[in-house]
């Protein structure tokens, strides 16, 4: 069973080396203590109530030995850990910079060339990346198990993280710091492209629009966007209430707003809800929906509207 996730960054093997060393040392100590304990438990089991016991109160040289040996091992472990730690903290000069924003409950990535993606981080195989991260609302933590990296995002200050992806493929991003209702849905992917593919992506007009996407019918495109842009973290399509109202059956019906007024859910209302979510806040919900202004194109909003219409 693969209980250590795959090794997909330059840092992963270093961390694994340390982890394996500590695990082995721990096993040695654990087995030693357990074996002695079990041996004593069997050998010195009381058989009759009147058995006599020796009067032993301690032994100083022994105490010193079992203080000094573990101390030395711990110092070695600390130094080894520190060396790996320095590496993990020092990004190379030529690392490509990506700005990461984590907010309740999605990730956005801003690239040097003005591209912006949601919940998908595109990086190039074997090219170091440095993430500069911020959170506008609460704490989050950017965690990619396959890269063995994790870094909190802290409101009010920037934090950073770097790695060099060493495997082409798609890897999970989790939010590791509890950030409220949608925490478990705050997921993403790192997509590691070969240099050629990366170049095509870099020049491409839209972040994640491959050639095929444009030819999708609008409702299907809408469904794809619903999943990829993180609407699904807060909106269900089966009627269950998450952070926001479900999309099921809303189209064409009246929605009751916080102030008691009622608004008919039509194309314009949906569009406004996406671009300017705070303009109308649905009764019973918090005003926490992020604005997708500048993130979704008109075309994509139209596709979403088409998708929501299909959810009867």
């Amino acid at each position: 069973m693969t209980w250590i996730p795959e090794v997909a960054s330059n840092l992963a093997s270093k961390v694994d080396g340390l982890l394996i060393l500590i695990t082995l040392l721990s096993l040695v100590f654990f087995i030693l203590i357990t074996v002695v304990l079990v041996y004593f438990a069997i050998k010195y089991r009381r058989k009759r109530e009147d058995e006599e016991t020796p009067y032993i109160t301690g032994n100083e040289p022994l105490e010193i030995i079992w203080t000094v040996i573990p101390s030395i091992l711990l110092i070695i472990l600390f130094v080894y850990g520190y060396v790996v730690f320095k590496d993990m903290r020092t990004p190379p000069e030529d690392a490509l910079e990506v700005t990461v924003e984590g907010k309740q409950w999605l990730w956005t990535f801003d690239y040097y060339n003005g591209k912006k993606t949601i919940n998908e981080l595109y990086v190039q195989h074997n090219r170091p990346v440095r993430l500069v991260m911020e959170a506008p609302d609460v704490l989050h933590s950017f965690f990619v198990p396959a890269f063995r990296v994790k870094q909190d995002l802290v409101p009010g200050r920037y934090t950073q993280l770097w790695f060099t992806p060493t495997k082409i493929g798609t890897f999970d991003i989790f939010c590791a710091e509890y950030c409220g209702t949608g925490h478990s849905a705050m997921l993403g992917k790192v997509i590691v492209l070969s240099p050629e593919a990366y170049e095509i992506w870099e020049k491409g007009v839209k972040a994640d629009e491959g050639a095929g996407v444009a030819s999708l019918p609008p409702a299907e495109l809408g469904e794809k966007i619903y999943k990829e842009k993180g609407c699904n973290a807060c909106h269900s399509v089966d009627g269950s209430v998450l952070v926001g109202p479900s999309f099921k059956g809303i189209f064409g019906h009246a929605a009751v707003m916080q102030d008691g007024s009622s608004v008919n859910v039509d194309e314009n209302y949906i569009k406004q809800s996406i671009i300017e979510p705070q303009a109308h806040v649905v009764k019973g919900f918090q005003p926490v929906m992020p604005s997708f202004k500048g993130i979704l194109s008109d075309e994509e909003v139209t596709a979403l509207v088409a998708y929501i219409k299909t959810l009867k």
């Binding site: 500590i22 304990l37 009381r46 711990l74 704490l139 934090t159 478990s184 269950s240």
Partner: protein, 556 residues
């Protein structure tokens, strides 16, 4: 000694009962350390059942991927209440309660130094818990921000409900009670010892309670101040912890863990004390290396004040800070290891009686060593970065707190129940309880180490169907059900033994500390005559007058 409220006659029956001469009033009005101790134990048992129920609901929700047994809101309230309950309303008050009952007995005193303050501590704890749990009945529900309530999530505008306010108020109240307990214990231990009971002779449980109590006095005020600031933020619009208005989210973490790390030693040191009493008695040997066990406790107490930021490695503190906190955290393993080795050495050459208290104490050593070793691993920053806030951490602290403190608590309950009530707990049910606990506990939590390394974050209400995650979580949930069963056996044992248990006599285990010199349950003023103390094992010296522990201390 202690002046009692005149209109309420003294109660002399060992446990609160509606049939007592003045009903519950004689308990409510009591300032007697034994009655207060018993009340702590009863209330913590109730909270243990509540916290356990919350844990079971959490585990059912996680039994398979994409489960919708609970809503995310309910789930978040449950894990917050579970953690808060188990730490602040089960383990901590249980250990304080056992201390309140036993400290005066162990040092040959008739009560605590400040009996009324003792009662105040208990009632603050009692009402603090009610304040916390009342939040369930409010419109906005229980707190849902985790047991460490990280800012700014716990503040406006991200928490508009009142849960976190109830949380802070409840803990604030019971925290003040804990400071008072700490002070009371320190003064009692330092000034009320019977003649002959020098600091080099007090039972190790008393030593550990002394260090714990000093920690209480020093670190609870940190979190009390932080609660006050949090309440100012949420009720009066201050901005201590809100970055959007110039406050600092990290400041809360420093306050919280400045208290929180010593707190975990507050949860484990008295447990070490229990183990240091049980193992020698059941091996029929004096503790190995008394001085080293006592001195290492003091070392742990001091070190524990300087390692808090190991909970913040992923926040992005500077390299120097991370390096220091990593080294300091590794060093704390040394005094802890010394203790473990001394307990094992105590068994060497003994004649070990594996009654239930000793079974739990032996299992404690093994489980706690696992929690300690994973602790060393995560003191190494690169490893911590990978596993922090994952299920690995959940496994680590359950091995430390459940495998450590709670196993020791079980050992202590089986050991002292005869003293508290005059009756023995059933050994048969005790063995059932023990084996179900060991199996259930390891099944629930061991596998979480692997889940964590595989990347499963903690505090997630649900998870996607990653390879093996579903089956590993299911195993963990089944383990939790077995644990639930073990708790039923435990409670049944207590209830049945209270009525039909074998009468205990004064000293059923042939132990040697002073609490066993009085009747069971302990008599009203504790002792008619405190036995002479001429060594660490006064009752042993009495029983074997011609081979006393300290030569030259022969009783004439």
């Amino acid at each position: 000694m202690s002046s009692r409220i005149p209109i309420v006659p003294e109660n002399t029956i060992p446990l609160p009962s509606l049939k007592a001469n003045n009903g519950l009033l004689s308990w409510v009005a009591s300032v007697d350390h034994k009655q207060i101790g018993i009340m702590y134990l009863i209330i913590t048992l109730v909270y243990f059942l509540l916290g356990g129920l919350e844990a079971l609901l959490i585990r059912v929700q996680l039994a398979h991927p994409g489960n919708d047994f609970l809503t995310p809101e309910t789930y978040n309230q449950l894990f917050t209440m579970h953690g808060t309950t188990m730490i602040f309303f089960v383990v901590m008050p249980f250990l304080i309660g056992v201390g309140v009952y036993l400290l005066p007995l162990m040092i040959g005193a008739r009560d605590m130094a400040f009996p009324r303050l003792n009662a105040l501590s208990f009632w603050l704890f009692f009402f603090g818990g009610i304040l916390l749990y009342y939040s369930f009945f409010t419109q906005s529900g229980a707190p849902d921000v985790g047991w460490f309530a990280y800012a700014p999530l716990s503040e406006k505008p991200f928490s508009l409900n009142k849960g976190p306010t109830y949380w802070a108020l409840g803990l604030l109240a019971s925290g003040i009670g804990s400071v008072a307990s700490g002070l009371n214990n320190v003064v009692t231990i330092l000034t009320m010892r019977t003649p002959g009971m020098t600091m080099r002779r007090i039972p190790l449980f008393v030593w550990m309670m002394l260090v714990t109590s000093l920690l209480l006095v020093f670190v609870i005020p940190i979190i009390t101040a932080a609660f006050a600031m949090m309440l100012l933020d949420s009720l009066l619009g201050a901005t201590f912890f809100t970055p959007a208005h110039g406050g600092s989210a990290i400041l809360w973490q420093h306050f919280f863990w400045g208290f929180g790390h010593p707190e975990v030693y507050i949860l484990i040191l008295p447990a070490f004390g229990i183990i240091s009493e049980v193992i020698p008695v059941f091996s029929r040997k004096p503790i190995y290396g008394y001085e080293f066990v006592a001195a290492s406790t003091v070392a742990i107490g001091l070190l524990s004040l300087g390692v808090w930021a190991h909970h913040m490695f992923a926040v992005g503190l500077g390299n120097v800070a991370n390096a220091y906190f990593s080294l300091a955290s590794m060093l704390i393993a040394i005094p802890t290891g010394i203790k473990v080795l001394n307990w094992v050495a105590t068994m060497w050459g003994g004649r070990i009686n594996f009654a239930t208290p000793m079974l739990f104490a032996t299992a404690f050593i093994i489980e706690f060593v696992i929690g300690g070793l994973t602790g060393v691993a995560i003191a190494s920053v690169p490893i911590d970065w990978v596993v922090t806030d994952s299920y690995f951490i959940v496994a680590h602290f359950h091995y430390a707190i459940f495998g450590g403190s709670v196993f020791a608590i079980f050992a202590g309950v089986y050991y002292w129940f005869p003293k508290f009530t005059g009756r023995m707990l059933s050994e048969t049910l005790g063995k059932w309880h023990f084996w179900l606990t060991v199996i259930g506990f390891n099944m629930t939590f061991f596998i979480q180490h692997f889940l964590g390394v595989m990347g499963m974050p903690r505090r997630t209400y649900t998870y996607y169907d990653m390879p093996y995650w579903g089956s590993m979580n299911l195993i963990s949930t089944i383990g939790a059900m077995i644990l639930g069963l073990s708790v039923i056996v435990f409670v049944w044992n207590i209830l049945a033994s209270l009525r039909h248990g074998k009468p205990a006599g004064d000293n059923p285990w042939n132990a040697w500390t002073l609490e066993w010199a009085t009747t069971s349950p302990a008599a009203v003023e504790n002792f008619e005559l405190v036995p002479p103390v001429r060594g660490r094992r006064p009752l042993w010296d009495l029983a074997y007058p011609d081979m006393p522990d300290e030569p030259g201390a022969k009783i004439v």
